[in-house]
């Protein structure tokens, strides 16, 4: 009986000490981690608007150029004549993809698309993060939905090239963009009318 009580006491004491360590680490790192995440979002927004910035003064440049607004619970970023941006998210082929999409002030054509996080196959699907691939979204009209066409075949103003050897990732990516654009842009239109 005595050793059973000892066992219980031991587990309780050890558990409390370890929990104490974790609470301390958590208390110390949580603000740093959320600051890092916020910094990533802000620098990606600036990148989407094409506003030049230095790694060390992201916050300052952001505060000078970008306004954060909210409509129907959706957060979006306004940068005057440079347009409007918002965060998108969805499932890619292998894992979640998220990032920032910037629209021109007319709210019907894309200004830029950036990716913060993706888990696609390195060297194949992950090529959606290449600047050359993302650049082709510039100026596309998304009002009737973006359409995927075989590599090198894009002609219309809403057509986007696929990637040779990795068709499924761009397909999932366009689906994410279309879903997010059609759900968020109406809210932004409403917010900007006021």
């Amino acid at each position: 009986m005595k050793d059973k009580i000892m066992m219980l006491v031991f587990v309780l004491v050890l558990g409390s000490i370890l929990t104490g360590i974790l609470v301390a680490v958590n208390w110390y790192t949580t603000p740093v981690i959320s600051k890092n995440e916020e910094l990533t979002v802000r620098s990606t927004v600036l990148q989407a608007f094409g506003i030049p910035f230095d790694k060390n003064d992201v916050d300052q440049v952001f505060a000078e150029n970008v306004q954060v607004k909210e409509q129907d619970g959706r957060k979006y970023y306004v940068a005057g004549a440079k347009g409007i941006a918002f965060a998108y998210a969805g499932s890619g082929l292998w894992g979640p993809i998220n990032g920032i999409v910037a629209l021109n002030p007319d709210l019907s054509t894309l200004r830029a698309v950036t990716i913060i996080h993706q888990e696609e196959t390195p060297g194949l699907g992950s090529r959606i993060t290449e600047q050359k691939y993302l650049d082709q979204f510039k100026g596309k009209d998304f009002t009737s939905g973006l359409k995927l066409v075989p590599p090198g075949k894009s002609k219309g103003n809403n057509e986007v090239d696929a990637i040779t050897g990795a068709t499924l990732t761009p397909k999932a990516f366009l689906q994410i963009l279309n879903t997010n654009l059609s759900s968020t842009v109406p809210a932004i239109r409403q917010g900007e009318k006021q």
């Binding site: 050793d3 000892m6 066992m7 031991f10 587990v11 050890l14 558990g15 370890l18 360590i21 974790l22 680490v25 958590n26 110390y28 790192t29 740093v32 981690i33 890092n36 995440e37 990533t40 996080h117 196959t121 390195p122 060297g123 194949l124």
Partner: protein, 205 residues
């Protein structure tokens, strides 16, 4: 003194976690695609090993035999969570790249194996030494494998372009199959050099 030399040699060579004990293979396959990931993972495992070694060796006379596995698990888990939080706070890019594998250090057999085989029956000093050199043994394997994989898969080392611009990247090296090829080649080469034969008693070393 003699014992500490033995501990060092065991960690780096005779009982080296990867090619000799074949422990920690899962993470060494997963995070060895880039040198910086390998360094971060090696440092993380080494830190978790040292923390585990200190606590278990210090408490070895108090840990009741029946619950020792649970005690190892919660001690290891604590230090792994610390590693994960510190990486996320201090090195967000690396943390993003090796993501879930930091959490999986908990199930890394090197930690559990060393705890049961060494820390629970040795003093704090020797245990720390053992932890450091097992961690180094694991890290140098990861770095050796990742140098080959990053060089062939991306043409770079630590992000610095090494191969000429015309070099065709071996995409397979950046993916899972490349890890299997290089890790098994590494084990083969090291076992040949050390004349290790798993069929002989004592490994033939």
């Amino acid at each position: 003194m003699k014992q500490s030399v033995k501990v060092i040699l065991n960690g780096l060579w005779k009982d080296q976690p990867i090619f000799s004990m074949v422990l920690g293979i899962c993470s060494s396959l997963a995070v060895s695609n880039k040198v910086e990931n390998a360094i971060a993972m090696g440092a993380g495992v080494t830190f978790a090993l040292i923390g585990t070694a200190v606590l278990i060796a210090a408490l070895r006379k108090l840990i009741p035999g029946r619950v020792r596995m649970i005690a190892y698990m919660i001690i290891i888990a604590t230090f792994v969570i610390v590693v994960d939080r510190v990486l996320r706070a201090g090195f967000p890019d690396i943390s993003k790249a090796i993501g879930p594998y930091v959490g999986l250090i908990i199930t890394n057999c090197i930690l559990m194996g060393r705890a049961e085989a060494f820390y629970v029956s040795n003093g704090v000093g020797l245990s720390i030494l053992d932890a450091v050199f097992n961690g180094l043994g694991y890290s140098y394997t990861l770095i050796a494998v990742s140098v080959v994989r990053e060089l062939l898969g991306f043409g770079t080392i630590l992000g610095i372009q090494i191969m000429p611009a015309t070099f065709t990247k071996w995409v397979i090296m950046a993916m899972a199959p490349g890890a299997f090829f290089i890790v098994s080649l590494f084990i083969w080469i090291m076992r040949t050099i050390s004349k290790m034969d798993p069929d002989k008693a004592g490994g033939g070393m």
